[in-house]
């Protein structure tokens, strides 16, 4: 016998739970995007590209060190690539209008996509996850698999660590201070360049981590970043720019919204997140938890 008798209630419950799982993934990506946006004023269009890099690194090293090894190694490797990109390409543009870095990362996204296609080919690559994770918990709750729970756990740990980092470490306090007033932070003798580099690396680390997790569940392809970037981007706008809790809320909200819409009006399941963004921008331009003036 089913846990709940009314099939509609069950369907709703399933989709809310499922939406939270999907949303958790967007959160992971959006947090990295948000960190970089807050401190470096860079809208990182190449974030999806870094996700793809993380996924392909995992694919390439899995045969040697297994899935768990790849999960540990691929994100920091991606972060190192991010560090180099920041130092060589993005840093020279900090002094200019944000449009410059936007255009640069926009181009970079193309380069990464084509580069991966050149190296690994356009055909998707199979990534196998440990068999015990690839099981549903029960026949009724088939959509809650070990892997998806694991993914949510990783997201929760990452969010918690990020919170501790920003709240209690010197680096985190500087990042937050820099987000509010970079000029004063610099005047206090803090190496702002280094701060930005490290912050960028943390953001790209999260992108790399998203990439490894996504590769276990989706097809690993050079284009996979594009489809995942947009929802993350919207999560930030809905949640409020400059607010990491806002990003968290935004990611979960759009996950649930698109899941629920898929039940009642499947054709709109993709459009609904854009509608949400439009409504938030009209009613509360700073986003749900955004600080006043962040976007003005």
């Amino acid at each position: 016998m089913s846990i709940i008798r009314c099939p509609m209630t069950l369907l709703l419950l399933f989709n809310i739970t499922n939406g939270l799982i999907v949303g958790a993934f967007y959160v992971l990506m959006a947090l990295g995007l948000s960190l970089i946006l807050n401190l470096s004023n860079t809208i990182n269009f190449a974030h999806g590209g870094f996700l793809v890099i993380g996924g392909y690194i995992a694919y390439a090293i899995t045969p040697y060190i297994g899935f768990w090894g790849a999960l540990l190694i691929a994100p920091p490797l991606t972060a190192v690539i991010g560090l180099v990109v920041e130092r060589v390409l993005i840093r020279p543009l900090y002094g200019r209008d944000p449009l410059y870095s936007l255009l640069l990362t926009f181009g970079l996204a193309f380069i990464i996509e084509d580069g991966t296609r050149f190296i690994f080919g356009p055909q998707g690559k199979p990534v196998t996850i440990p068999p015990f994770l690839a099981q549903p918990l029960s026949n009724d709750f088939f959509f809650i698999t070990g892997y998806r729970l694991f993914m949510v756990a990783v997201v929760m740990i990452a969010v918690a660590l990020l919170f501790v980092l920003l709240r209690y470490t010197r680096l985190g306090i500087r990042i937050r201070a820099g987000t509010l007033d970079l000029e004063t932070v610099a005047a206090l003798g803090i190496n702002v360049q280094l701060l930005r580099s490290l912050n960028f690396a943390v953001g790209i680390f999260l992108a790399g981590l998203s990439g490894v997790l996504a590769a276990g569940q989706l097809g690993l392809e050079p284009t996979m970043g594009t489809g995942l970037l947009m929802p993350s981007f919207i999560a930030i706008i809905v949640g409020g720019i400059g607010s990491l809790p806002g990003t968290l809320l935004g990611g979960l909200l759009i996950g649930v919204a698109s899941g629920l819409t898929a039940v009642f009006l499947p054709a709109a399941s993709e459009a609904v997140i854009y509608v949400m963004m439009a409504v938030v921008l009209l009613m509360r331009p700073r986003g749900l938890l955004g600080e006043e003036g962040m976007m003005s």
Partner: protein
């Protein structure tokens, strides 16, 4: 010295968001051109986006054909060039690229597109410009059905042919309650219609249809709905990366252990990108590389391996190859490049052994210009026995004229130019 740029304005961010929408519009991609009087074949295919893998393979097949025909003297003694453009899986871009190939590059023939919607739109352009056009890999019925054109021929199957080839097998093997996961565009709609028509004739019922946007990454919400409808079999009509994402999630959710999972069109590109446990189900292939004893196949496989990092050809390689070869064969036979004359000659034109690469008779049918090509009905296998790429077991090769509806049923009435 640190500088302090102004804060990002909301408008900047929004402009950025708009720009992201245009992200998939990539720059053109042109392949070599030499000789002044070469015959030019234009090819528009989605080299970026969800169909990048099949499109890339079609181009590779066409390139091989060009190489082989040039080695044998080209078309009418002139060398042949292939000009490739990326439609980026977008109708507007595809049409623009087709116009550019015709108006600026002066191509004599046109091939494309993998995406049915784009193929149909390009067909409008080629018929207006009187260019002989072969649709290599877009399956929607109307292209050789109600919207058929005098200048448009098609190599791949129609969705109707695909459904007809495999429906009765699915019905007898898996059961009569079907639930569909359908891509929400021209190809998916006509394939769904064809399948449901077959199912009704067989006496089965449809428990529901999940229309999923092209490029969907997470199928969980649709799968939850499909599972709740309690069907005997879940029919996946999605293609490309959508197929990979969907099938991967189906298997991780263990749905294949609760209900049957199968479909119509399956491709080697998709099976190869899936982990072994997700290579399941009964499907139809449009061409398969392992055909012991069939003339020409072994050589074709060897030729493609040379240019494909050692990998075997897929149906898409054959589509590109057969499309380009058809132009050379008919033009050399008629000793002409005149589109109207060649279109007339292609009617009931039979492909020779070294081009058709399959046992049954293969010809462009007079009346709707659809190639009567076979369906390779069989089952996916998790691992190949002798070759890691032997991921499919062919049970039956059904000839095209057995799966295709009659010309009258297609609704095609070719209007020839005055």
């Amino acid at each position: 010295m640190t500088s302090f740029p102004p804060r990002i304005e909301r408008r900047t961010l929004l402009k950025g968001a708009a720009a992201l929408g245009a992200f998939q519009l990539a720059s053109p991609f042109i392949i070599q051109a030499r000789g002044e009087t070469a015959v030019r074949i234009g090819m528009v295919d989605p080299l970026t986006g969800v169909y990048a893998a099949p499109a890339g393979n079609e181009v590779m097949g066409a390139k091989l054909a060009i190489e082989q025909m040039n080695a044998k003297g080209g078309i009418l003694g002139r060398q042949v060039e292939l000009l490739v453009e990326d439609s980026a899986n977008d109708v507007g871009t595809g049409v623009q690229k087709a116009r550019k190939l015709i108006e600026r590059d002066g191509v004599n023939f046109m091939i494309g597109d993998v995406n049915s919607g784009i193929a149909a739109a390009i067909a409008q352009v080629t018929s207006e410009k009187k260019i002989l056009h072969i649709v290599s890999g877009g399956h929607t019925d109307s292209i050789t059905g109600k919207d058929c054109k005098w200048n448009v021929f098609r190599v791949c199957n129609t969705t109707r042919m695909e459904a007809n080839s495999v429906s009765s097998v699915l019905y007898s093997k898996y059961g009569k309650k079907w639930h569909f996961i359908t891509p929400d565009y021209a190809f998916g709609h006509t394939l769904y219609d064809a399948c449901t028509d077959d199912l009704k004739k067989l006496g089965g019922t449809v428990t529901g249809n999940e229309l999923t946007p092209l490029g969907t990454t997470d199928f969980s919400a649709y799968l939850i709905k499909a599972r709740a409808a309690n069907p005997d079999v879940m029919i996946l009509l999605v293609q490309g990366s959508d197929m990979i994402n969907c099938l991967k999630q189906v298997v991780q959710f263990g749905l294949d252990k609760q209900i049957h999972v199968a479909g119509t069109q399956q491709e080697l590109e998709s099976l190869a990108a899936l982990p072994p446990e997700a290579r399941i189900g009964v499907w139809m292939f449009e061409w398969y590389w392992k055909q012991p004893g069939v003339p020409g196949v072994e050589k074709f496989v060897a030729d493609i391996r040379k240019v494909n990092k050692g990998n075997v050809p897929t149906a898409r390689h054959w589509f590109g190859y057969a499309s380009a070869m058809s132009f050379a064969l008919v033009a050399n036979k008629e000793k002409s490049l005149d589109a109207v004359k060649l279109a007339g000659a292609l009617e009931n034109f039979e492909l020779p052994d070294d081009v058709k690469l399959q046992p049954n008779k293969v010809y462009y049918r007079k009346g709707d210009h659809q190639l009567m090509t076979s369906a390779f009905v069989g089952e996916a296998q998790s691992k190949g026995k002798d070759d890691p790429e032997d991921l499919y077991r062919v049970d039956e090769i059904v000839p095209g004229n057995k799966t295709a509806p009659t010309v009258e049923e297609t609704g095609c009435k070719v209007q020839w130019p005055a």
